[in-house]
């Protein structure tokens, strides 16, 4: 787990080599456009562009599925719920007892589902193609965020991986004590909270020790240099333009199809 997050095995696509900041910018543009309008045309264009770009970005369908399936499920649930609860205007498509779907309610449902996916995918792309260390380097060197903050967060992220193992060990250790013997929901909740508290205690211990180790190695001074240089290259121009292009195409398509539906309008 920790190995996965901190040193991901990245494919050798140009997108992987791009600076994390340009990727962040492209993702931000696309996300903002999708968020601005609830319609299925803009969301559909973005989603189609994302899926078509996958080979160029060096993302395999399998890797995407492994990381992204909970989001697909969430999108489907969201779509279904919206279709069920949205205003029931337009022709009735399906009715069975309390279940009623109309054309418009289904349209809203599809728009919400597509939108969720269109927003979620770029995030997964970013995760699959970005090394956290590179991201930290870029944030500190290019965006000039305070290095104490950036490196602290990076070290913290590594601890999260360790805490996943710690949680498992705690669960076994507590079962050995007989925790969870009572099968009542309240007792189960108490057991869970107890285990969470145990995890917090261990997390604080580890974090304190890590902070000492970092301080002992001179961390926290005003001046600092970087062993790894965060750079921009021509790839970054393409990544940025790609994001802008997809966003523009989505807005144009939705406006000309007459479905653009500005949420603040």
């Amino acid at each position: 787990m920790s190995l996965d997050i901190m040193t991901p095995r990245l494919t050798a696509s140009p997108f992987t080599r791009a600076n994390p900041l340009s990727k962040l910018a492209a993702v931000a543009m696309v996300t903002v456009v999708v968020m601005l309008s609830v319609d299925w045309v803009s969301a559909g264009v973005v989603l189609a562009a994302e899926l078509l770009l996958m080979p160029v970005l060096g993302i395999s369908a399998w890797a995407l599925f492994k990381r992204g399936w909970p989001l697909v499920v969430a999108a489907l649930v969201g779509a279904y719920g919206t279709a069920l609860l949205a205003e029931k205007t337009g022709a009735v498509v399906f009715e069975a007892g309390p279940l009623l779907f109309t054309e418009d309610s289904i349209n809203s449902g599809v728009a919400i589902g597509l939108r969720s996916l269109a927003v979620a995918l770029p995030g997964i792309f970013l995760l699959l193609t970005t090394d956290p260390t590179d991201l930290a380097d870029a944030l500190a060197q290019k965006l000039k965020l305070p290095h104490r903050f950036v490196l602290g967060a990076l070290a913290g992220l590594r601890l999260v991986g360790l805490l996943v193992d710690e949680w498992r060990t705690l669960g076994l250790a507590r079962r050995a004590r007989g925790v969870g013997a009572e099968n009542k929901p309240l007792a189960k909740l108490a057991a869970f909270l107890g285990q969470a508290f145990g995890l917090i205690v261990q997390a604080i211990r580890r974090a304190t020790r890590l902070a000492v180790a970092m301080e002992a190695r001179g961390f926290g001074g005003a001046q600092r240099t970087w062993a790894r240089e965060s750079t921009f290259s021509r790839v970054d121009i393409w990544v940025f333009l790609g994001g802008a292009l997809v966003s523009a195409a989505a807005v144009t398509a939705a406006v000309s199809a007459g479905t653009w539906n500005f949420i603040f309008g």
Partner: protein
Amino acid sequence: MATIQSTTAERGHPAAVTAEGYGWRHAGRKDPALSDVSFRIEPGERVLLLGASGAGKSTLLHAIAGVLGDDGEGDEAGSLAVDGMHPVQSRGRTGLVLQDPESQVVMARVGDEVAFGAENMALPRDEIWSRVRESLGDVGLEVPLDHATTALSGGQKQRLALASVLAMRPGVLLLDEPTANLDPDGVLEVRDAVVGVLERTGATLIVVEHRVAVWADVVDRVIVLAASGGVLADGPPADVLNAAGTRERLIEAGVWVPGYTPRLRTSLPTGGGNGSDGGHGTPGTDLLRAADLSVARTRRAGPVVNKVSLELAAGEALSITGPNGAGKSTLALTLAGLLTPAGGKLEAAPELRRGAAGTVHKWKSAELVTRIGTVFQEPEHQFLTHRVIDELEFGPRRVARLPEDEVRRRVDAIAERLRLTKLLQANPFTLSGGEKRRLSVATMLATSPDILVLDEPTFGQDANTWAEMVSLLGGLIADGHAVVSVTHDGDFTAALGGNVLRVADGTAQLQAPATSGRAA
């Protein structure tokens, strides 16, 4: 890798460390952690720092490293200086390596980890990378720079920690029990790396370690801190370790003095006789049988040890040994009914099953705790309450649901036997290391399991706690408990006797029974 050879001068000169009446009191504590310490350590000296638990060894090391914190976190007395400067000003001149390999790694990759300190010193990029290669060469860690730090063994991680401080070219190396968490191979690996580094850099060394034999030949001076404050002894190893006065006091303080084996309590307590912890089988009765057992931490992770066959009987000791990461703990936790076997069979004999339905890992908690108890390596993982007495009562009352007078009787007997009676109202998290360890064993014994499984019961323990554990477990075995221990500790295995199961390369082999010569 080590093509860059720089001279000692280029590598930063060895530093002197002086203390004059130095003391430190943590904020909110009544007694100082350290008081009235005076010494002068010359540049290039190699010092072993000893003392009883709580004498302030780690505090002193942290103070020299300049990481004790500021005024808000405690009060300083006297003076402490590295090359005449206050330690906080001389961070980078001191290189601190801590005990736990896990919690001092900052970065995800080996090269970046070593570069971290040099980056903080604001060195130019080319200089950083040449120091990274040199430092890794110095500690003999020959892995690619982009190797994941999580993929290293314990010994490798400690050598990485050493390389990481070397990249700052410190004048003093400060090692805080750097080998306490390692298996015997890891201990030698790290010790030899340190020796190599000292020969090349000439740096001053201050090492804290209660296993004296590891460092006795490396150091040229031993400083012993007195528990009551001040310095108890200071001189060449041969003098300090052999002088009648100091040797006695070191032994008393639980230091592993070379040539001394901790004395075990010969009159082994008999819990079974007076019924203090309930009935368990007569020695020799079969309890648990594994046939072609495969074990895995999680189903997804896949089996780590295969084809384990063994039998465990009442009154028997079984030690599971082997290198770090071989799957010893996974095997022990499976035998303990906490992990689901990945394959093969694990069967409880009728004497152990006593009506519990299904296979061992499907037993309900109440059935498990009265049959098999498991003591984890980190006692804190198993603490559930805020008072020692609540910890002891938890199993008998809340899990096994014994009548109240029986709960009282058992808790009293066990508290007495494990010398916890005076601590009953204390918070478990505030106990000393040895007390925590005793409490974690006591909580398991409270529900009177037939089998006790322990993960590294003597890891990093001082000699007193060690002797206590061995005596206690010996007593349990004599009472008819079966005791399964995961351990690297050869002295422990020999003292306890019984079978040794060696786990390595995915298989497990029973070895000749350990001789119990020292237990007598």
